[in-house]
Amino acid sequence: MKLWNNYLKELKIASRGFYFYMEFVMAAILLVCILLFVPAEVTNVSQEAIYVDLPRETLDLMLLNSFGEAGRYERAEDTTVKLKPADIVYYDEQTGEKYELSFDDKKTLELETWYYYDAATGKHESTLYIAQSMDDLVRAAKAEKWYSTVVQLDETGQMRYKLLLFGSESERYKNLITAVMDAENLPALQQAADELEVVTLGAENVLNNRESYMPLAIVIMNGLMGMLVVIAYLTIDKSSGLIRAMSLTPMRTRSYLLSKVMVVLTISLISSLVITVPVMGAQPNYLLFIPTVLLVTTLSCMLGLWIASFFSDLKSAFGVLILFMVILMLPAMSYIIPGFAPLWIKLMPTYPMLQAIKETLLPRPDTGYVLLICGGMLIVSALFLWWSEHRYKKSLGV
């Protein structure tokens, strides 16, 4: 009952402050940005440029016949590229020769554009821009960050390909390209890739591009902020001496801390629903989603409380908390680039948080997994609460 009364009091005080409403405004703005600027489906259309130092007929032949049954190129509207003055240096990696180019003029290029469509799916998969000169190719490639190819005939009449890279590519990647780009290899590789049997285990249980941003918004923008917010609330009470008054009542330290956390949970849950419901509709299992969101925020708050308990002055804890928040944001990289998931990333609490929230949003969530993660978060939160209570008992009232 004391905990509930304290929570209501804290909620009342919080609701009389600007921050309380600002969180909801932020959530609404984020929602608008997601709805307006994040498409539901992403078409991964790669862009490349090419300069072909060959007769036009050869180029046409290349464009129309290269892919056989796999796909086709179709001419599209020319693309306008505005180029600014630039000094560009590039190297021939085979000969080591250095090329230095200096362009003092602004130039507008109208690049001949071709779209490649995959035969099987009919999707526009890549766009090819044809430059009329090597200089134009290099300038456009540098400005627009396109991978580019130069096709020339050597003295013996053999076709030579050179791929213009940026410099950060790994040797592994270059070997891959060399294997694929070899004209002799390509048909064999293509055939082997086409003949490869593919089995899909869990089709249709995916989030679209827009929906996949939800876990990031909930965990990073809402959940993690709990670390800072709960300590900010404590700092206010400590600076005003209110904690001393609270210390002289039968209310337990744990109840006092929990009442602060409960206010943060309220704000976090409402903000999360503001963002999620319009985007996800009725798809998520809200019976799983809501407790997961609450536990994500709870764990963040408990972590914040625990870290701050090591500081005699709560204000100085802020800097460390920001440091921790920055580190805990790293699993977002793994979420955005799923192939990058080293063990140390998986061990950070935000990794399972993101995965658990994502799971609750799927059409067919893995309830067992979500409950496992929630259980883990509950246990760890309880541990941090116990530890923090023990530390704060001695220091909060001082």
């Binding site: 390909y161 593919v198 900010a232 802020f318």
Partner: protein, 315 residues
């Protein structure tokens, strides 16, 4: 508090330096049935991260886990690619290519007269560049928070009132508060760039961009710090700055240039654009000064709007 807040971006710089190569090296993660031929598996290992498992069931179980792993098992007629269904298209395409290379034994890497590479030799990967510039922008937001929290402290301690009854003019007070933030910002930004190894740049240009970007953060910090009664309002308000910052970065990186007009109002966009060009080596003084000028104009506009309020709050 200030020390830790300054350390946060430096630590982030170290982390970016550490993880960026790992991300760039990432091709595909495979879970492979060990019953596939060893030559096949060895070929895969040259290009991807490979985990060998005892049988097809183990591979399927591994594929179904949270992270993005593509499986390869032994089928009746040859290897079978096993996917969960939620992998990125790029990963699946690359997996097919690598599987094809392993099947055919065509692995590239030999000297090839027909094919070669040209290179700009810019060793900063696009990811590292993007993370680094976002970090520079975040530093200005963190410094803004530092200034505003300091002002909240001064308000609560009533030292602003004490300062008002001295000969020190208000402008001097504002300048002294801002200077700390700007100096911390410059220090942290420079050290971060050094840590990241981004040194082959025009330092004068980048310092101009960093300082002008700080302007809007400082103005907002003053308004927030002086209006807020406690830490929670101040830190929550600074969160408001994060939105235009993130929006600017995302629009610049992920959308067509035609869409950039939607964030022309944000100084963070011009700062991001300018710093990107400087790091890429394509920036000219004309464009740098133009971007800096736009930022100053926007900041001046915001400052004029807030001037009355700042003056009132300082009293």
């Amino acid at each position: 508090m200030a020390v830790w807040m300054i350390l946060a971006p430096l630590l982030l710089a170290v982390l970016i330096l550490w993880i960026a190569p790992g991300i760039s090296e990432t091709t595909v993660n495979f879970a492979v049935d060990e019953n596939l031929s060893s030559a096949y598996i060895e070929t895969l290992k040259e290009y991807a991260s490979v985990e060998t498992l005892k049988d097809a069931d183990a591979v399927e179980e591994r594929v179904m886990r949270r992270d993005e792993v593509i499986g390869l098992t032994q089928g009746d007629t040859g290897p079978v690619l096993v996917q969960q269904g939620n992998e990125t298209e790029t990963a699946v395409t690359m997996a097919k290519v690598l599987a094809a290379m392993a099947s055919t034994g065509i692995t590239g890497g030999e000297a090839n007269e027909n094919f070669g590479f040209l290179s700009f030799r810019d060793e900063t990967s696009p990811l590292k560049r993007s993370l680094s510039i976002t970090m520079l922008l975040m530093i200005s937001v963190i410094m803004s928070m530092l200034i505003s929290l300091g002002l909240v402290d001064e308000k609560n301690d009533q030292t602003i009132k004490a300062a008002n009854v001295t000969p020190m003019p208000q402008s001097a007070y504002v300048l002294s508060k801002s200077l700390i933030g700007v100096l911390a910002l410059l220090f942290t930004s420079v050290i971060s760039l050094l840590i990241l190894g981004i040194t082959d740049i025009n330092w004068a240009q980048i310092l101009i961009m960093i300082v002008t970007n700080a302007l809007i953060s400082i103005i907002v910090a003053f308004v927030i710090g002086l209006s807020s009664t406690d830490y929670i309002e101040a830190s929550g308000s600074v969160k408001l700055l994060m939105l235009p910052m993130i929006a600017s970065v995302l629009v610049y990186e992920l959308t067509d240039p035609a869409w950039h007009i939607t964030v022309w109002w944000s100084p963070f966009y011009w700062a991001y654009r300018g710093i990107t060009e400087i790091i890429q080596g394509t920036a000219r003084w004309g464009s740098v000064l133009l971007y800096a000028g736009i930022i100053v104009v926007i900041s001046a506009g915001v400052f004029m709007l807030c001037l009355k309020r700042i003056r009132k709050l300082l009293q």
